[in-house]
């Protein structure tokens, strides 16, 4: 058992888990059998068995059973359920559409019911049940009160509310102004921009996967991997001093990680050219500036000409395509930076400490 736990602990470290999750995501998007009732039940069973078995581990239990974390555990299951539900409906619809039959939604729209009593009565029952659940919850799980707030004595680890833990996890890889201001801002702007970039009428009012493969995959990649997974890591796997801990590891406050990260400029000037860092910050950071410049300003143009993306470019027109592709590249910057951090200890592409500008 310890051996398995050790394996799980090792595999859960971000550089493994992230890669594994990427592979799983790829398989998931390719799979059809997963999005059936059987597939869903198997997923649920696997998740539940893993969770229940893990509860026997005291370290796992102490983290998961913290009153703060209980709702987040529930939410992990909910996220899985709703992803499955929509994909299940989408796959079913795809089959119906392939056979030329009307979709679920269409059948439902034709089948009308009365507000009273059908809707109101069922709503009322749900209200009663929800009240029961909330009352029981509030009696059984006491409010997790801690010390009075003390600016001189922050708790360790200091954690943001759960919904910000994805952002806090980004702070590991990015400068605060990037992780805390630019990226969240772009997430909101990007979500607002989706309807203007993606004007395809397909999938309006009904679930479908086949007709919207690329869009749904990109969205789920951002939502599941870059957002939800990061929240899970931040909630359950980040312990004292924001060190990483496997799910069965004890949160040892004295744990020390060797963290020496290197800037791109140092790689370029010192390791590659064997000269000292130039005194002028602009010259020093030129490699990084050129690289980022290439990433955001040249790469989109090259991609527009790529034969796989050419049809999208023509269909969407230049403005939509470029805005979309740049937002997509911003999103990709996170996994790229994560991998570079794990593999070559990259600190920043551009590190202008003179003006607190770091990417």
């Amino acid at each position: 058992m310890d051996f398995i736990k050790r394996i799980v602990n090792t595999l859960s470290y971000p550089y493994w888990s992230f890669s594994l999750v990427l592979v799983a995501f790829y398989l998931m998007m390719r799979s059809k059998r997963l999005w059936t009732k059987k597939g869903g039940l198997i997923l649920l069973a696997v998740g539940t068995v893993f969770f229940i078995l893990s509860l026997f581990d005291p370290n796992f239990r102490s983290i998961v059973a913290k009153p703060d974390n209980v709702p987040i555990v529930m939410m992990v299951f909910l996220v899985g359920f709703f992803v499955w539900l929509s994909m299940y409906k989408a796959t079913k619809n795809d089959e119906l559409l392939a056979r030329g039959e009307p979709t679920f939604e269409k059948t439902e729209v034709e089948d009308k019911i009365f507000t009273w009593p059908d809707l109101v009565f069922s709503e009322f029952i749900f209200m009663v049940v929800l009240t029961v659940v909330l009352v029981v919850w509030s009696i059984v799980l006491k409010a997790p009160l801690e010390d009075p707030a003390n600016p001189a004595l922050a708790p360790n680890p200091s954690k943001a509310p759960w919904y910000f833990l994805g952002l806090q996890e980004m702070l590991v890889y990015f400068d605060p102004w990037m992780a805390g201001v630019v990226l969240p801002g772009l997430i909101i702007l990007g979500l607002m921009a989706i309807p203007y970039i993606d004007t395809s009428p397909k999938g309006n009012g009904y679930f479908t996967f086949r007709e919207r493969k690329v869009e749904i995959t990109i969205f789920l990649f951002g939502w599941l991997i870059l957002w939800s997974q990061m929240i899970v890591i931040g909630t359950f796997l980040r312990g004292p001093n924001w060190n990483f801990f496997g799910p069965y590891e004890y949160w040892d406050i004295t744990k020390v990680e060797s963290l020496v990260n290197v800037d791109l400029s140092e790689y370029f000037w010192i390791k590659l050219l064997h000269v000292g860092l130039p005194g002028n910050w602009f010259v020093r950071e030129l490699p990084g500036i050129l690289l980022i410049g290439f990433y955001f300003f040249v790469l989109p143009v090259l991609l527009a000409r790529w034969k796989r993306l050419r049809p999208y470019y023509e269909k969407m027109g230049a403005p939509r395509f470029y805005v979309g592709i740049i937002l997509f590249l911003v999103m990709l910057l996170l996994p790229i930076k994560m991998y570079l951090r794990w593999t070559v200890h990259l600190k920043y592409f551009i590190h202008v400490q003179e003006y607190f500008f770091n990417i």
């Binding site: 009365f114 009565f121 009663v128 029961v132 009352v135 009696i139």
Partner: protein, 1021 residues
């Protein structure tokens, strides 16, 4: 018009469809779901009400009510037994008889009662009329006022209306008063008729008053229907008898980081009887017990009433909590923890900064307010702890920023002249293991501790000690003391050691532990003098005992004014204790390789690897040793406790302890040691085994990173005493008015106590009930140095000032062998002493001149002085002293009295000496008949024929015998007369008419003369 026939539903369809076609859901099933969920909602709502209602403190209060009722029932039994049943029966019969008698013979009573009832009704009506008239008058006044202002035409009419109403009011009042007078008369008449009954009834009530009051209290605790309703769930918002008890404490804060919040203690909610006496028998268990020290804490008359200090200010814990765990109770040991877990579902409060201190450690709470006091009266564990803290020098390495730990002297001796005192071989062995040499020493073991594992580290330790010794000798002055000293008699030296006062501060015993000496801990103030012969050079010791300040000006060791032969004898005695193991030792040569490695390590702090190697190569052998010695002294912080040349402005090395009791748990490194994760368990472990938290890391850490705190060899008792202080060093904030040592009186007390403990006055004297450590060698109580209980009220400030400056100027008790030493106090220190004594007795420093004696008083004084045979013990003159001889039965000469004593104190002292100084040998001549009331035996005695002459003598001053008798019967007058006689004898007893002389004597200006007289008195020896 006929109504349209409704469509007939399909009535008798054989099987009604489960689902109606126009419904989406199956409503039969929906109704079931609804019913079940509604019932669930009802159930959880009831659960919620119950969960909110069922709080443990209610159970405790209810249980206490039941227990108290049982107690009262027992008390009732007791009360009942006290009552004479026959008497009660007789009285009841009397009442009955009177009643029948009244009914038989006088029917007028019934009519009288009826009349009174009628009158009462009439009075009620008249009163209502009067109230109405008053209202009318007020209203008409307002209308008149308004009309006048508006200059209305009917103003005059309104004015008349006011007048009419005034008259009506007067009339109504008259009517009511007439009726009231009639009623009173009738009632008086009735009372007269019923007199017999009321009297009997009153007697009965008086007899049964104890019983009925207990019964009333028991009835109030009953579980009647009103109790059940008032305390029922959801009904308890009205006025439940079970409710949270709290006391708001405005002066005691919680620091909430951004703001302060007053404490609100709710402990009494469960500890119901904490402030009520009588619940301390063995049958009472917590939380129902009375506070064990009600006279000091909690009680209304105590110095710390709970209405001002609450509970959590001392005990710690979450003030507002009403739940056992949430309040922060801490178990004192594993057994209690198991018990609590089982019975009370106890949980440790991880986030509570200051949990309740475990029982036995409560005295730690004193520190919050008594941070300025070196000791806190009546807190014995704490007092021992503070003695240990200052003698072990905790505050030397660890900054303790509390007034009591400010400006403490360094506990270790001066080492700037160590080469003159001892030799390097001894120093090496001493540093390696001080307790091997002096079993009771406070000097801790720095070396060869449990975290030093492996031969290499052991050799490193040896090298470090050698280096320290090299540094000390290289930096010591070396003016040699004479080799030869006068020969002395060790036997006589021993006698001196045990009699002149050395034993107040020193012991000379092998094979004892500090804990064994702790009951007389003041004797640990100076070093144990065992094996002195193997430690110091004879020339040094001879010079030292004669005058310690010549070697070390700041030493606390006083001069006992030894003569040269005495010093020689004492030196011989001290040198006679030797241990060959410590003689002719040469310190081992340092291991050159390890030494150079250590030196290199220190050099690399400032130099490059190459630079440090070069530097090392240039250092000669001896310099390397001294260099390492310097670094090692810095590493272990030796300079914090000892004066060593070269460390003038170096900061101490220890962690600050000022807020150790509030230190967050995560800042304490528990390492791999399995102990409960609490602050007090960590500190306790650290005190007993300072290096324990290196356990398992000995080979992981670098040599210089290993823990360095030295081992004091503390016993469990010592560790508890120190712990009881350290956990009290908290960040708790209280208003200044709650702190001791702030307002002038307590500040004077605090400063005095600090001085007293610095100079170890309690080694010889009894002060605030503690001290007399020297009892260990002086068993005869009359030969002990005096108890200073009443000192502030007793002696004149000027006299005391002169005396502590130079005790040799007067010998008050010539029969004592113990000498009051010369401490060489500065004026400031001497003033601190008298301010302290004055503050303790709440006296002002100076008195106006002695007013002089009244001739009557003087005449009586003379007679009574002889009557009581005062001079038998108090040599009042050379003659008297000769007559009695110099035995320890004597008391101080009265010739000193007017210079030394405060004239306002002497009469009250004579009246009741035991009240001032418990255990004094001064007899009480005036029996105390009731608290504060004394009887004078003189008035009766004077009639005896044996005293006829004295009576005649006194009568010269009195106009009548009655006047004399009255004078003699008044204890205050007689004691004052005695005082006047004493003042007269000692030359200060000026008769009222010569104020000039009085002025001169009042300030003790005649100390020389007093001293001379005593010398004369003492001449009888």
């Amino acid at each position: 018009m006929t109504p349209p026939t409704p469509p007939t539903p399909p009535k008798a369809s054989p099987t009604p469809p489960e689902k109606r076609p126009d419904r989406h859901y199956n409503f039969g099933r929906m109704n079931m779901v609804f019913a079940v969920s509604s019932l669930l909602l009802l159930a959880v709502t009831l659960w919620m009400v119950f969960a909110d209602y069922a709080q443990p403190w209610k159970r405790y209060q209810a249980e206490f009510r039941a227990l108290e009722r049982q107690k009262l029932a027992k008390d009732t039994e007791g009360e009942r037994k006290k009552i004479n049943e026959q008497q009660v029966a007789q009285l009841k019969k009397d009442v009955q008889a009177a009643q029948t008698d009244l009914e038989k013979h006088n029917r007028g009573a019934r009519e009288l009662e009826q009349r009174i009832d009628r009158l009462k009704a009439e009075i009620y009506t008249a009163d209502a009329a009067w109230k109405k008239a008053k209202g009318d008058l007020d209203a008409s006044r307002f209308e008149y006022d308004t009309a006048l202002q508006a200059k209305a035409g009917d103003a005059a009419e309104k004015g008349r209306e006011v007048e009419r109403n005034k008259k009506a009011l007067e009339k109504a009042k008259q009517t009511r008063e007439d009726l009231e007078a009639k009623r009173d008369a009738a009632q008086a008449e009735l009372a007269e008729k019923k007199k017999a009954i009321t009297e009997a009834e009153k007697k009965l009530d008086d007899l049964q008053s104890g019983l009925s009051s207990v019964e009333k209290r028991a009835a109030a605790l009953g579980k009647g229907i009103d109790y059940l309703i008032l305390n029922a769930p959801l009904m308890d918002f009205l006025q439940p008898s079970l409710h949270v008890q709290q006391v708001v404490l405005p002066g005691l804060y919680h620091n909430m980081n951004f703001t302060t919040v007053s404490r609100v203690d709710r402990c009494m909610t469960c500890h119901v009887a904490a402030n009520r006496p009588g619940f301390d028998g063995p049958e009472w268990k917590e939380p129902f017990r009375t506070h064990p020290k009600l006279d000091v804490y909690v009680g209304d008359g105590s110095p710390h009433p709970f209405t001002k200090f609450g509970c959590t200010a001392c005990h710690g814990g979450l003030d507002r909590a009403t739940d056992f765990s949430r309040a922060g109770h801490s178990p004192k040991d594993a057994a209690q923890e198991r018990d609590w877990l089982r019975r009370l579902h106890w949980e440790r409060q991880r986030y509570l900064e200051n949990p309740i201190l475990p029982s036995g450690m409560s005295e730690a709470g004193c520190v919050t307010c008594h941070a300025a006091d070196v000791w806190t009266p009546k807190a014995t564990t704490q007092e021992t702890g503070r003695f240990l803290l200052s003698h072990m020098g905790c505050g030397s390495c660890h900054l303790i920023d509390l007034p009591a730990y400010k400006d403490l002297r360094k506990p270790g001796p001066d080492l700037t002249r160590i080469a003159e005192k001892t030799n390097p071989g001894w120093a090496y062995k001493w540093i390696a293991a001080p307790r091997d040499f002096h079993p009771t020493t406070f000097m801790p073991h720095f070396f060869f501790q449990e975290n030093i594992k492996g031969e290499a580290n052991r050799r490193r330790q040896e090298t470090e000690i050698t280096a320290i010794v090299s540094y000390l000798w290289a930096n010591s002055e070396k003016t040699p003391y004479p080799e030869t000293i006068p020969a002395g008699d060790a036997k006589n030296g021993e006698k001196l050691f045990n009699s002149v006062g050395c034993a107040g501060c020193h012991i000379r015993e092998d094979g004892v532990t500090r804990t064994q000496v702790l009951p007389t801990m003041n004797r640990l103030h100076g070093p144990n003098l065992i094996r002195t012969g193997s430690k110091v050079s004879p020339g040094w010791l001879y010079a030292w005992v004669k005058n310690p300040k010549q070697y070390w000006p700041e030493t606390a060791m006083p001069s006992l004014r030894l003569t040269d032969p005495e010093a020689a004898d004492l030196t011989a005695y001290l040198l006679s204790s030797r241990d060959p193991r410590y003689e002719n030792v040469t310190p081992p040569a340092p291991d050159p390789k390890l030494r150079d490695e250590l030196v290199l390590g220190y050099l690399q702090a400032n130099l490059t690897i190459e630079g440090s190697q070069k530097k090392l190569a240039t250092m000669p052998e001896a310099e390397r040793n001294v260099y390492l010695g310097n670094q090692t002294i810095l590493k272990y912080g030796c300079y914090s406790c000892h004066n060593i040349k070269g460390y003038d402005n170096v900061k101490p090395i220890g962690t600050e302890l000022t807020a150790e009791g509030s230190k967050p748990l995560h800042q304490l490194d528990f390492g791999h040691v399995e102990i409960p994760e609490t602050r007090h368990d960590w500190i306790h472990e650290k005190l007993l085994r300072p290096r324990i938290f290196d356990q398992g890391k000995e080979s992981v850490k670098d040599y210089n990173d290993l823990l360095k705190m030295p081992n004091f060899g503390m016993s469990e008792e010592e560790a508890q005493a120190v712990l009881t202080n350290v956990v009290g060093f908290t960040k708790e904030s209280v208003e200044l008015s709650h702190k001791a040592g702030i307002e002038p009186r307590t500040a004077a007390l605090a400063a005095g106590r600090r001085l007293i403990s610095n100079f170890n006055c309690q080694g010889c004297h009894l002060i605030e009930g503690n001290g007399h450590a020297i009892k260990a060698v002086i068993s005869e109580p009359s030969l002990l140095p005096p108890n200073l209980a009443a000192e502030g009220a007793r002696v004149q400030s000027g006299w005391l000032f002169d005396y502590v400056h130079d005790p040799s100027r007067v010998k008050m008790r010539p029969w004592l062998t113990v000498r009051m030493p010369t401490f060489g106090f500065t004026d400031e220190q001497a003033n601190t002493v008298l301010a302290y004594f004055g503050a303790r007795e709440e006296r002002q420093p100076f008195l106006s001149p002695f007013p002089g004696a009244d001739p009557k008083s003087l005449a009586v004084g003379k007679v009574v002085f002889n009557l009581f045979q005062c001079a038998k013990c108090h040599p009042a003159g050379a003659e008297a002293a000769k007559a009695t001889g110099m035995t320890p039965d004597l008391a101080p000469s009265l010739l000193l009295a007017h210079d030394r004593l405060r004239y306002d104190w002497v009469p009250s002292w004579i009246k009741d000496p035991q009240k001032w100084v418990p255990g004094t040998r001064m007899p009480s001549n005036f029996p105390e008949t009731a608290p504060g009331k004394y009887d004078s035996p003189v008035a009766a005695a004077i009639d005896s024929p044996a005293f006829a002459a004295q009576k005649a003598e006194m009568m010269k001053q009195f106009s009548s015998e009655a006047e004399l008798k009255a004078f003699l019967a008044d204890v205050d007058k007689v004691t004052t007369a005695l005082r006047d006689q004493i003042w007269n004898l000692s030359g200060g007893g000026a008769v009222a008419s010569s104020p000039a002389k009085a002025t001169k004597t009042a300030r003790g200006g005649k100390a020389e003369k007093g001293a001379a007289s005593v010398a004369g008195a003492a001449g009888g020896r």
